[in-house]
Each structure stands twice: as structure tokens, then as C-alpha cells.
């Protein structure tokens, strides 16, 4: 009994990623630094689940975040659209060594396949990729004079995403282009784990502006405000990776 029976908040990132099993398919949100669930990825490294299939737009940058997860040897396969970047040396090394499988998916098909999983669509015909290597071996069909490739949903056991704020029902709002994969991954995973800057009281999010309704969310953890924000307002003073530029600190 009582007035707070739905409470998806968990006390810390360790609780947020608890129970992710070896062999799980894990979607990780974010595009660049925007929306990247940095603290949850670090917690997954500490948690230690292995043999993972990871779905992300890229395959890690530098030596932190997803790259660190790869370097820790926890990932068996990447499903992504753009693994090769100037600073993707961790992925590059593992891939060349044959220690990492890769499924390369055009970015819009990746997004739509994730969306299909959440929306209960069994498969769909997309024009993207028709006639290319990435459609080799796939079923095609001409519909109304246009050529399409049949693509299937990508589902996950767990999604790790970042958002700006949540309430205890798990309703989420994002910030600017940090929204990217969050809403569709939240819907495509059996268990959705979200890190947010802050947890706000139920009723304080405008119901017109809730982007991910709480039914898609299982666990929410507050990790504190990002360095470029103060009380939800942009204050700047960082580089594109979010590193503080001046001596003021975060």
C-alpha cells in the first residue's frame, strides 16, 4: 500500500546494471558524446558481463566508454553503422585480430530495425541499401516501381541509455541531439536502464513533452549534472567531449 508503488529509480549504477548476463545483447545509446551513457558503460565494465553483442551507431572512440568495454574483452560482436573512425583504434585492433564480429548496418536501417523491434513489426521493406553489398543475400522486392530490401527487427536484452531527466515512473526527457537512439532503444529492449542528470518529482514533466513514456523504462539512476549544465541550463565552458576548458571545474 501507499502512494509510491511505482518507483523505477535505483540507488547507484551498480544496481542499474546488476544481473546483465554473459551473452546478452546490449543496446548502448548515444551519438558522439551526446546521449552516451558513460557512467552505465563504466558500471558494465565493473560488472564484468562477457560475450556481449553490442548495438551502437559506432564501435568506440579513444580509450573510454564503449572502447573501454571492447578493450576489456567483454564484447563478442558489434552491430553498428560506422565502426571505423580516426580514433577507433581499440575496435580496429580487435577486428583485425579476428576477436570481434561485425554486422554493418546502414544507419537508417539500424534505426528502423530497432524501431521495428519495439513496435512489434515482424519485418519491413526498406529502399536503403538496395543493390549494394550490404543487401547481398537479402530478400528484395519491387513495390510500386521502387526496389526494396527486407530487413528484420533488432531486439536486445538490455538497453543502456542516457537522458536529461526522469520521474519515478520512468518517463524521460532528453536534451537536443542527445535524444538520438534513446527512445527507440528503450522500446526495443527487454530491460531498459537509463542514466539521467536528475530525477524529478512525478507530475513535474509536461505530459506533452515526455519523449519516452515510462512503460519502456525499467531502471533509472541519477548520475548528476553534466559539466556543461547548471540547474538544467546550458553554461558552456567545455569541449566537444564535455571536458572542462577552464580551471573553474565542473
Amino acid at each position: 500500500m501507499g502512494a509510491r508503488v511505482i518507483d523505477k529509480t535505483v540507488p547507484d549504477v551498480a544496481a542499474a546494471v546488476a544481473g546483465i548476463p554473459d551473452g546478452a545483447t546490449v543496446m548502448i545509446g548515444g551519438f558522439g558524446r551526446a546521449g552516451q551513457p558513460v557512467e552505465l558503460i563504466d558500471a558494465l565494465i565493473a560488472q564484468g558481463a562477457r560475450d556481449l553483442t553490442v548495438v551502437n551507431n559506432n564501435a568506440g572512440n579513444g580509450d573510454t566508454g564503449l572502447a573501454a568495454l571492447l578493450a576489456a574483452g567483454q564484447v563478442r560482436k558489434m552491430i553498428c553503422s560506422f565502426p571505423r573512425q580516426s580514433d577507433s583504434w581499440v575496435f580496429d585492433r580487435l577486428y583485425r585480430a579476428g576477436e570481434l564480429e561485425l554486422e554493418l548496418v546502414p544507419q537508417g536501417n539500424l534505426a528502423e530495425r530497432i524501431r521495428a523491434a519495439g513496435a512489434g513489426i515482424g519485418a519491413f521493406f526498406t529502399p536503403t541499401g538496395f543493390g549494394t553489398q550490404l543487401a547481398e543475400g537479402k530478400e528484395t522486392r519491387r513495390i510500386d516501381g521502387r526496389d526494396y530490401v527486407l530487413e528484420y527487427p533488432i531486439r536486445a536484452d538490455v538497453a543502456l541509455i542516457g537522458a536529461r531527466a526522469a520521474d519515478r515512473w520512468g518517463n524521460l526527457v532528453y536534451r537536443e541531439t542527445a535524444r538520438n537512439f534513446g527512445p527507440i532503444m528503450a522500446a526495443a529492449a527487454a530491460t531498459t536502464v537509463v542514466q539521467v542528470d536528475e530525477i524529478v518529482p512525478l507530475g513535474s514533466l509536461d505530459p506533452e513533452g515526455v519523449v519516452t513514456p515510462g512503460l519502456y523504462v525499467d531502471r533509472v539512476v541519477a548520475v548528476g549534472e553534466r559539466a556543461w549544465l547548471r540547474d538544467g541550463e546550458f553554461v558552456g565552458g567545455v569541449d566537444i567531449e564535455g571536458r572542462v576548458l577552464s580551471e573553474e571545474g565542473a
Partner: protein, 212 residues
């Protein structure tokens, strides 16, 4: 010697063809230069496929916002009238044909409008496609912006692409350093040649018949 315009001149030439009110995606890399040459005072709405319409120019240092980036993961700003959306909605805009113009780079464009711009097909290379295939089919007009020849002197306008394709029959126009070419049912048609370049010279450089 044929006349070649600079990369900046080429970006300006592309920009001059973009009509007011157009919704435009400039991909990543060289085509993003076009933004710097869009006519002043005209409202043109820039789409970035990571999830925004109404993208504005880069911010000053100190005002970089890691949550506000373009498809190349560079810092940008949001204009009045901007809107944010998620990745599936963003690529639905492209796939659904709601963008007016998309500008892309190329390794090769074929006379049939096929585009190759994502992979050189070298064995052992790590592949990466990103949004290239979605962009290729994702606008009413797909413009390619490229040199006419590779650094090694090989034509980039070809009868049939030898590099792996990005999209089939998707390119509507090619802006090169030598001239501008439309893709027509009969193959490439010369739209404009820069300087005193002649039809015959360009045909000879390409080893390809061009419509007048």
C-alpha cells in the same frame, strides 16, 4: 590545361542552386562547406540526420554544447524554428522523401546515377557506412560534389561504378571542379562547363560520351 575551380568555389556553386525554403542535408565532410555559401537573407533549413532540423553554424569556443552536434559530431547551434527528434524519425524524413536536397561526396558516379562513396572495396579495410546509403536515396534531389578526376587522374564519372555501390540510380546532378552534369535517362548531360573547358575536352578526360 582545363579550368578547375577551387573547393570553396565549388561549394559556392552548389549553394547558388539551392532554392529558398529548401530543406537540405549536407552529409559530412566536404559538402558541409556548402553551408558557408548559402545566400544571405534566404531561409534554408538544414537537416542533420542525428536528429535536428534548423541547424545553425558552429558556436564560439566556450559555447560548445556536447549535446548539440551534427552528423559529423561537430558542435553546431540551433536556429529559431529548430526541432529535435529521434533517429528513427530523422531517417524516416530522409527515406520518406521529405528532404529537398542532399549533397554528397563520391568516389564514382555512373552514367545511370549509381553512386559509390562508402567503400574502396580494398581487401582487409574496415568497412563503415554510417548514413551514406540512407542519404543516397533520401532526398528529392541528390547532388554530388566532387573532383572530376581522382588525384591519380582517373575519371570519377564513369559508365559503371567499379567501387562498391552506395545507391542505385540515385544521383540527380554532379558538381565537379570542371563543370556541372545532370544525370538523365540518356546518361550525363553537360549543364555548365567552367572557364573555357569544352565539351570535347571533358569527354576526352572522362573517356565517356556526354549529352549536350
Amino acid at each position: 590545361m582545363t579550368t578547375r575551380i577551387s573547393r570553396a568555389q565549388l561549394a559556392a556553386r552548389v549553394a547558388s542552386d539551392i532554392p529558398e525554403g529548401a530543406v537540405v542535408n549536407l552529409g559530412i565532410g566536404a559538402p558541409t562547406l556548402v553551408a558557408d555559401y548559402l545566400p544571405e537573407g534566404l531561409e534554408i533549413v538544414l537537416h542533420t540526420e542525428n536528429g535536428m532540423l534548423g541547424m545553425g553554424p558552429a558556436p564560439e569556443r566556450g559555447r560548445i554544447d556536447p549535446d548539440l552536434i551534427n552528423a559529423g559530431k561537430q558542435p553546431v547551434t540551433a536556429l529559431a524554428g529548430a526541432a529535435f527528434f529521434h533517429h528513427a524519425d530523422s531517417f524516416a524524413m530522409m527515406r520518406g522523401g521529405h528532404l529537398d536536397v542532399c549533397v554528397l561526396g563520391a568516389f564514382q558516379v555512373s552514367a545511370g546515377g549509381d553512386l559509390a562513396n562508402w567503400s574502396t572495396g580494398e581487401p582487409g579495410a574496415i568497412p563503415a557506412v554510417g548514413g551514406a546509403m540512407d542519404l543516397a536515396i533520401g532526398a528529392k534531389d541528390v547532388y554530388v560534389m566532387t573532383d572530376l578526376l581522382t588525384k591519380g587522374g582517373e575519371p570519377k564519372l564513369v559508365e559503371a561504378c567499379t567501387y562498391p555501390l552506395t545507391g542505385v540510380g540515385c544521383v540527380s546532378r554532379v558538381y565537379t571542379d570542371h563543370g556541372v552534369f545532370d544525370v538523365t535517362p540518356d546518361g550525363f548531360r553537360v549543364r555548365e562547363l567552367f572557364g573555357d573547358n569544352t565539351h570535347a575536352e571533358i569527354e576526352s578526360l572522362l573517356g565517356l560520351k556526354l549529352e549536350a
